[in-house]
């Protein structure tokens, strides 16, 4: 890819001359789809990113949110006032590493983790949790398995090594990802009012200091590589555009960054990601309305004879760019040395242009703002998607049940999360495999130190701080059938995951993945998922504070389904939550309820994916904000013993997942739609006080599903046909990934 003729003309008009070779490549990368969001920015205005909790919204390396005080943590965000938020902050960001993960799954996924963790660090935060949403082609295909195993291995090795727990996420298989898997990684960091750093350069005369790995010739042109369709020979041809990560260097960089922030030495920070040093340094000064003078030969290098262009554009990993006061430079150098990291003072902030010199020659001299923000936006044609008709097959119900429960997309992901260290940091109160993870933010309680090394509140069994609940994912079957409603459902589903553990949403970030936007039907679907996510997040009073767009996920096999990964965080008081397993001891004195209105269709369901047929997407519930608040209140009620949300695979799968070797369930359902419909916004609840649930539910419908039993068997009756499975049989069905890949 090179600079288009139209862009070239714009650049010449601005500069009044031909761009130098280095400038040409800088514009090509920073004005690429990946960096400049040329095809998506016109749509992104749909997102509402405001709220009392939002300290730093979209546009920085990561968003920053204030946590509510523990007493207000259960209250829906729409009912809180500005005074309800304290000075403990979390950062939140998401990134895609799709193309690199196709070409080199292990390193591609690993560097995706590294990049989003550095985005967290550049806000002055310590990374405390990772979430990964992964999408692959059909699980039966050899190549999908190769990519799946490689990606999980890359995330596992890098994330485990740097000591950041991977606490949640999602994995989906769909033939649309055959030629283009997706790796979407979100990271949450912890900071506070005093430690917050931004990527906005502050004052001319300050030094720009590069800390971390030496720069080599790796990852040249990664941003523009990410902005093209994958060629058929991408696996061999594009390998040089994939960077290789070094988690040991990243871990030392995390500790060094923490020490720099401890001593208040960082005035602004930006991590080096897409377009390398050129991208990070120009964006840093552009955000402050300033310029820079950089001497490229000062950059510490790993290879001899690197050209100006290579130094400027290489995407070598594990590097940070800091703005530092001249008097603090010596101390920064000392701390970098302590953690065995390279450090070079590469130049300084100026009031003028963004200027790079190399061996006495000026190789770049442009207005930083024009470089960072000047890319023109694309105006693309779109086509509305069509709605499928109802054509429901009637096959054997037991076979259908088994197929849905053992479908790799709905089956157990234990094989995945067992490879992730999900407990390092000793904050993980609710682990992967549950509806949502819960992290203990003890710092939000009175008198706790940020580094969490004081004993204090950890003595209380339920915790006195804020429980931070996390969920991420998207369902490609939903958005393939109905981009707009499917994306709304994705947002509601993530919020329902939080509500199942008693938490209310605080903020979301999104990763919008699509095919080639120059195809009108692809762009139409993409428009649908953007508007759908935006509308549901508004309805949930949840600001969308950051995100990432990944287009051109298109290959010889065709475009991916439009995939709106949403990562959502929410809060509750304390870290406790009801179990996602039925309680056999209380079988006699408890009721099994479904809270929330069922849908009326099977479009986008795993059931249809397994047995064939088509249907429109179900109607989603009205007033979703109130619904989620109601579900969360029911989950928090003292008499609630178990909760589980209804989503992939419908009620049949939700019930199967609730059954244990001791506790079973006896449930009658009127028809297949009731059994397999995936409408989100519903919880299965085991409670000893059904009247209390009815009272809390108000207008939200509550159905009595049946009884909890003590035989460890799920006994379903669907349309009068009996479908039975013991806990052992269910475990075996759900164990498909472990069995195939062990």
């Amino acid at each position: 890819m090179s600079l288009s003729e139209a862009d070239h003309e714009l650049v010449v008009a601005e500069l009044g001359r031909e761009p130098t070779p280095a400038e040409r490549v800088l514009f090509e990368n920073l004005w690429s789809e990946h960096c400049a969001y040329r095809s998506s920015r016109p749509l992104l205005g749909a997102f509402d990113s405001e709220g009392d909790q939002v300290v730093v919204g979209p546009g920085d390396d990561a968003a920053v949110l204030a946590l509510p005080d523990p007493d207000a943590a259960d209250t829906p965000a729409s009912d809180r006032g500005a005074d309800d938020y304290g000075d403990t902050y979390v950062t939140f960001g998401v990134e895609s590493h799709n193309h690199p993960s196709y070409v080199d799954p292990v390193d591609g996924a690993a560097t995706g983790v590294g990049g989003i963790v550095r985005d967290t660090m550049s806000m002055g935060a310590y990374p405390v949790a990772l979430l990964d949403s992964l999408y692959f082609g059909d699980f039966d295909r050899e190549h999908s398995r190769y990519l799946f195993e490689g990606v999980v291995d890359g995330i596992s090795h890098y994330g485990n090594c740097i000591g950041v727990p991977t606490v949640g996420g999602s994995v989906a298989f769909h033939d649309g990802y055959e030629g283009n898997p997706l790796v979407n990684v979100a990271c949450v960091g912890l900071t506070n009012e005093d430690r917050l750093v931004t990527a906005e350069a502050t004052e001319p005369g300050n030094k720009l200091v590069l800390v971390g790995n030496a720069t080599g010739r790796d990852g040249l042109g990664g941003a523009s590589f990410a902005s093209e369709d994958l060629g058929e020979d991408a696996e061999t041809e594009d390998r040089p555009a994939v960077q290789v990560g070094d988690p040991y260097a990243e871990k030392r960089l995390i500790e060094c960054n923490e020490a720099l922030v401890d001593e208040d030495l960082v005035l602004a920070a930006r991590d080096l990601g897409a377009a390398g040093l050129g991208g990070a340094s120009s964006e840093l000064v552009a955000k402050g309305g300033l310029g820079a003078r950089i001497e490229l030969e000062r950059v510490h290098q790993r290879e001899p004879n690197m050209s100006a262009l290579e130094i400027l554009l290489a995407e070598s990993q594990e590097r940070m760019c800091y703005e530092v006061a001249p008097t603090d430079v010596a101390r920064v150098e000392e701390l970098a040395d302590r953690f065995d990291l390279g450090c070079s003072v590469i130049g300084e902030v100026t009031p003028g242009n963004y200027v790079c010199e190399f061996e006495g020659e000026t190789v770049v001299d442009v207005d930083a703002d024009f470089l960072a923000e000047g890319a023109p936006m694309n105006d693309l044609d779109s086509e509305e998607p069509t709605r499928p008709e109802r054509d429901l097959p009637t096959g054997d119900l037991s076979d259908a049940f088994e197929a849905v429960v053992s479908a790799p997309s709905t089956a157990s992901k234990r094989w995945v999360y067992r490879q992730y260290d999900h407990e390092v940091g000793t904050r993980t109160a609710r682990k992967p495999g549950d509806d949502a993870a819960i992290m203990a933010i003890r710092e939000a309680a009175e008198g706790e130190a940020l580094d969490g090394t004081e004993g204090g509140a950890s003595g209380d069994a339920s915790g006195t701080g804020v429980g931070l609940a996390l969920s991420s994912g998207a369902n490609p079957n939903w958005t393939e059938v109905a981009p707009y409603d499917g994306a709304r459902a994705v947002a509601l589903e993530n919020a329902t995951n939080l509500a199942a553990k008693g938490a209310t949403p605080l903020a979301a970030v999104d990763c919008l993945n699509g095919g080639n936007p120059e195809k009108p039907d692809v762009y139409g679907g993409f428009e649908g998922i953007v508007d759908g996510l935006a509308d549901m997040c508004s309805a949930l009073s949840t600001p969308v504070v950051g995100g990432n767009v990944s287009l051109y996920n298109d290959s010889a096999a065709g475009p991916i389904p439009p995939t709106p990964t949403l990562a959502l965080i929410g809060t509750k008081r304390g870290y406790d939550a009801p179990s996602a397993a039925l309680d056999a001891d209380a079988a006699d004195e408890s009721a099994l309820l479904l809270v929330g209105a069922g849908g009326d269709a099977l479009g986008g369901s795993e059931y249809l994916a397994q047995v064939g047929g088509s249907d429109r997407f179900p109607t989603l519930p009205k007033a979703p904000g109130d619904l989620v608040a109601t579900l969360a209140a029911i989950a928090r009620h003292d008499a609630t013993l178990a909760t589980h949300d209804v989503s992939d695979g419908g009620l049949a799968v939700a019930l199967a997942e609730l059954v244990t070797a001791e506790a079973g369930a006896d449930v009658a359902l009127p028809d297949r739609v009731a059994a397999f419909d995936e409408t989100p916004g519903r919880l299965v609840v085991q409670t000893t006080d059904p009247e209390a649930v009815a009272e809390l539910a108000g207008d939200v419908p509550v159905f009595r599903l049946g009884d909890v039993t003590t035989d460890g068997t799920l006994a379903l009756s669907i349309e009068g046909t009996a479908v039975e499975a013991t806990a052992g049989e269910i475990r075996e069905l759900r164990n498909v990934i472990q069995r195939e890949l062990a």
């Binding site: 485990n160 030392r252 067992r418 992730y420 003890r442 950890s458 209380d460």
Partner: protein, 228 residues
């Protein structure tokens, strides 16, 4: 038991150092992180080698850290009777440094495994297990890719004869079986004593089974209480 001030040694790549300090703090033990290049503080009365990936585990797990200068000080302190506990990567460092017998190598699954396991307490007359009764089954999580305990046949016989096995992987009822062995360790060994019973290493993470606000099991607290 010891009532000591504990230094938690942080190498580049350690990542359970803060967790160890927090868990010890919860038990009322005075503990602080010590950067390996700074050496042990004079007031060190107990030592934890925490989990993580020291030096990225780029050679053998623990091999590089075992040769760092601070380990000379740790060995001297251990010889003087200062209690030393190695956890996970700290266990790998401890065995590489010759503090304890055997070696920890790649799991039988060849994959990283993060999950709760059951341990049978083999001895109760050591500082690390005084909180338990003999035959107790405790639940403590593991998180490692190289936790398979390997040792020569003769050395294993000596280890058993000297009664230096602290914990074995077992099922929920205390049966030491192949199915309950998460990583293929010889004799299901999860933790061993050094030459002195004040030195111990184990692969499972007691600091992750100590804090009642997050942990599903707090069975690991008994091990750390040795320092209290």
């Amino acid at each position: 038991m010891f009532g000591v001030t504990v230094s938690v040694v942080q190498f580049g790549g350690s990542n359970c150092d803060r967790d160890a300090v927090r868990a010890l703090g919860h038990l009322g033990v005075d503990a602080e992180r010590v950067w390996h290049e700074d050496g042990l503080p004079d007031d060190t009365e107990g030592i934890v080698l925490p989990g993580g990936f020291s030096y990225g585990d780029y050679l053998r797990a623990g091999a590089m850290a075992a040769r760092a200068p601070i380990m000379e000080e740790v060995r001297d302190a251990a010889a003087d009777g200062v209690p030393v506990l190695g956890v996970c990567n700290g266990a790998q460092i401890g065995s590489e440094a010759g503090l304890t017998p055997g070696a920890f190598t790649t799991n039988a699954s060849a994959r990283f495994q993060c999950e709760p396991v059951h341990l049978r307490v083999e001895r109760t007359d050591t500082p690390w297990t005084a909180a338990y009764d003999e035959g107790d089954v405790i639940e403590v999580p593991i998180a490692h890719g190289e936790g398979r305990f390997e040792i020569g046949d003769d050395a294993y016989d000596d280890l058993v004869a000297d009664d230096r096995v602290l914990f074995r992987y077992c099922d929920a009822d205390g049966n030491v079986t192949d199915d309950a062995n998460p990583n293929g360790s010889t004799g299901n060994v999860a933790g061993v004593l050094g030459e002195r019973e004040t030195v111990a290493v184990l692969m499972p993470h007691p600091e992750r089974a100590t804090l009642p606000d997050v942990a599903t099991s707090t069975d690991g607290a008994g091990i750390l209480e040795a320092f209290a």
